[in-house]
């Protein structure tokens, strides 16, 4: 295998809070190859966003980040502010869930995209910058781009604002785009448009992308490989088909079994039961054990590590049997 574009090793994030500390991310290993789409799925608090914000150096000051993240051959955890600034918006483009809070409300969108270009390409002539801004807006299919450049964010719809965010993310031809719930705030027909814009861009530029989402349907449609996170860890990872059709972790299967499906009527949906872990109390064993139908005493004693079982890598002491047992329990 060639060198990965991005490699996380044992990445951890702890937040110091008044009552002690919250372990949001607890040793995440993850890699992204050039040109591929990697999905990170999980529920609220699983650590999926914190993982990516950590490597971008965008976490609040009370966060303690550990482990390693190598991007394009160089370490970025603990890198200097100026190194990180050159990466962010440069080789790494970012798209967040809520474009209204990510865009500056008092500046025109043209100004903001131009700024993103000028920071990374200070020698570019102003005329050339503005031409590039228009080209970017056209690339993300914003109608009447030359007029729209003069609009402020509040004059645009949510879908249009997200297109502006995408235009900014790709302004400097990044090698990696990190998209954190890019379509969650949007209506479904607008979501389809945005996913299409992203797919078109990727086809044109072959940029790698990490897409963070809670929506397994979105992941099924866009990702090449998928990481399932739970309780601050990756509990299963594999190619998208392997994960959906031969996933081995009881949580992965639980997630799929609890989703109603558009193409099926009268199926029974099976709640996982219980609640996600509270991360200020570090569990000694597997963090999914309290909700797992296949849990054994050993599951509470030691935390399983990712290992290859069948088609995917799974962090479960009893894979592949656990998936079968838990399926039986929930039927």
């Amino acid at each position: 295998m060639r060198d990965a574009l991005l490699t996380l090793k044992g990445l951890s994030v702890e937040f110091a809070v008044s009552t002690g500390s919250v372990h949001a991310v607890r040793g995440v290993d993850l890699d992204v190859q050039r040109g591929e789409v990697v999905g990170i799925v999980g529920e609220s608090g699983s650590g999926k966003s914190a993982t990516m914000l950590a490597l971008l150096g965008l976490l609040a000051p009370n966060a303690v980040v550990g482990g390693s993240a190598r991007f394009d051959g160089s370490e970025i955890i603990g890198a200097t502010g100026s190194h990180l600034r050159s990466l962010r918006g440069g080789k790494i483009g970012m798209i967040f869930q809520d474009p209204m809070t990510s865009l500056n409300p008092v500046l025109t969108i043209g100004h903001q995209i131009a700024e993103a270009i000028e920071v990374h390409q200070p020698t570019m002539r102003p005329k050339r910058v503005m031409a590039r801004v228009q080209e970017l807006l056209e690339m993300v299919s914003i109608p009447h781009a030359s007029e729209r450049m003069r609009s402020h964010p509040h004059e645009l719809s949510g879908g249009m604002r997200q297109r502006v965010m995408i235009a900014m993310a790709v302004a400097n031809e990044p090698e990696l785009i990190i998209a954190d719930e890019p379509t969650t705030a949007l209506d479904v027909t607008i979501q389809a448009q945005i996913l299409e814009v992203l797919a078109d861009l990727r086809q044109r530029t072959n940029t790698a992308m990490v897409i963070i989402t809670h929506d397994l349907g979105v992941v099924a449609g866009v990702a090449d490989r998928v990481n399932v996170m739970y309780g601050g860890r990756v509990v299963e990872r594999g190619n998208v088909d392997d994960l959906f059709y031969s996933g081995e972790h009881p949580y992965t299967n639980g997630l799929l079994a609890c989703l109603p499906r558009l193409d099926r009527r009268g199926q029974s949906i099976e709640p996982i039961g219980g609640a996600p872990p509270v991360l200020d109390v570090l569990p000694t064993g597997c963090s999914f054990a309290p909700r797992c139908g296949a849990a054994q005493p050993e599951c509470n004693a030691s935390d399983p590590v990712l290992r290859r079982v069948g088609a995917t890598e799974v962090a479960c002491h009893f894979a592949p049997d656990a998936a079968r047992v838990s399926r039986k329990v929930t039927v």
Partner: protein, 343 residues
């Protein structure tokens, strides 16, 4: 049945419901019709879902039905009684028969009241005596898997899923016949969402409840509904049974919605029909002439701008408001490609 039918008395009968809101300065006196004339029936024990995207008027419709908002025109009859003719007292006593559950349980439960107070309040208002009240509350608490000791706690001490269960109990304590559910699972994580959906099904079966279910998630709607009405810019564009809407889809907008809803199955996702609509919904302040959907429709012709299509059955067994309806199963169809350039 969502088809207007006057032969039997449905539990809920809505006719030509319109709700306008003033917009802009009073001098200019603009109006926006959030709901622009919808009619439907809801039978006892049945679930009717109103689906559509933000701003289509589905929540406003539900709020007019339970009279949180007063309709601008049209009638809402509950069990034969026109709610518009009731005085405040009459409406209050009628309200015990229909209740509402809101999307955000955090915002709809008073943070300064204990769960016990929250659940007792409707019972006090409706004059249910204390012994009876506490019996009802305890029975419902155990049904939704909360403990009697939870009555002394405050909403913030519960998880999102638990809070939604409290909201559901509050709606149930008066033993209503109908509940309007406004996006009851949208704010919840998927594993919790499944729990609430199962609970709603169980309660419906146990108490014979009718649900007016407001949702944008078409997979959840498929799972829960008997009938479905699809809304666009304040009007119904297609209504029918669950099977009719999902398997014999006739309106281009419904087809686009269904084609855009993701399915958690990679092979299905790779091979299914794509319909990517042009543009965004126009402003309801100034809706397009003729068919309101025509500005985004790939089938639109001159006629669509001149003549508004009426909600009618073009011989397919359900109602659709389109000049050029074509029945299609967009969820299952492979390879048809409606892909549109975004202009």
């Amino acid at each position: 049945m969502t088809e207007p039918d006057n032969s039997s008395t449905p539990l809920l009968q809505v006719r030509d419901l319109v709700k306008s809101f003033p917009v802009g300065s009073s001098r200019r006196g603009g109006q926006v019709q959030a709901v622009a004339g919808v009619s439907f029936d809801l039978q006892r024990g049945e679930t009717l879902s109103l689906v559509g995207e933000s701003g289509c008027g589905k929540s406003t419709t539900a709020r007019c039905v339970v009279r949180i908002l007063d309709p601008s025109s049209g009638t809402v009859r509950f069990d034969g009684t026109d709610l518009g003719n009731l005085d405040a007292g009459g409406l209050r006593s009628m309200r015990s028969r229909f209740q509402m559950v809101f999307q955000d349980p955090q915002a709809s439960l008073n943070p300064r009241m204990t769960v016990g107070d929250i659940l007792n309040e409707p019972l006090e208002i409706h004059g249910v005596d204390r012994a009876e009240a506490s019996e009802r509350i305890n029975e419902l608490l155990s049904l939704v898997q909360l403990r009697p000791s939870d009555l002394d706690r405050y909403p913030h001490q519960f998880s999102g899923g638990q809070r939604q269960r409290i909201g559901i109990v509050r709606a149930l304590v008066l033993r209503p016949e109908m509940i309007a559910l406004d996006e009851p699972v949208s704010a919840l994580d998927v594993s919790i969402q499944a729990e609430i959906i199962r609970l709603l099904e169980q309660l419906r079966d146990q108490f014979g409840l009718a649900y007016l279910f407001i949702a944008h998630d078409l997979s959840v709607v498929r799972h829960l509904s008997d009938h479905v009405a699809v809304m666009y810019l304040g009007k119904f564009v297609e209504t029918g049974t669950n099977e009719q809407i999902y398997e014999s889809t006739a309106h281009p907008y419904t087809q686009a919605l269904l084609a855009a809803a993701p399915i958690p199955d990679p092979q299905v996702e790779r091979s299914r029909t794509r319909i990517v609509l042009v543009g965004e919904p126009p402003s309801p302040i100034n809706p397009p002439s003729g068919c309101r959907f025509r500005t985004r429709c790939w089938k639109a012709e001159a006629r669509c701008a001149e003549e508004e299509p009426q909600l009618a059955d073009p011989g397919i067994g359900h109602l659709v408001a389109c000049h050029f309806p074509e029945v299609s199963n967009v969820i299952l169809h492979r390879s048809t490609n409606y892909r549109e350039a975004i202009t």
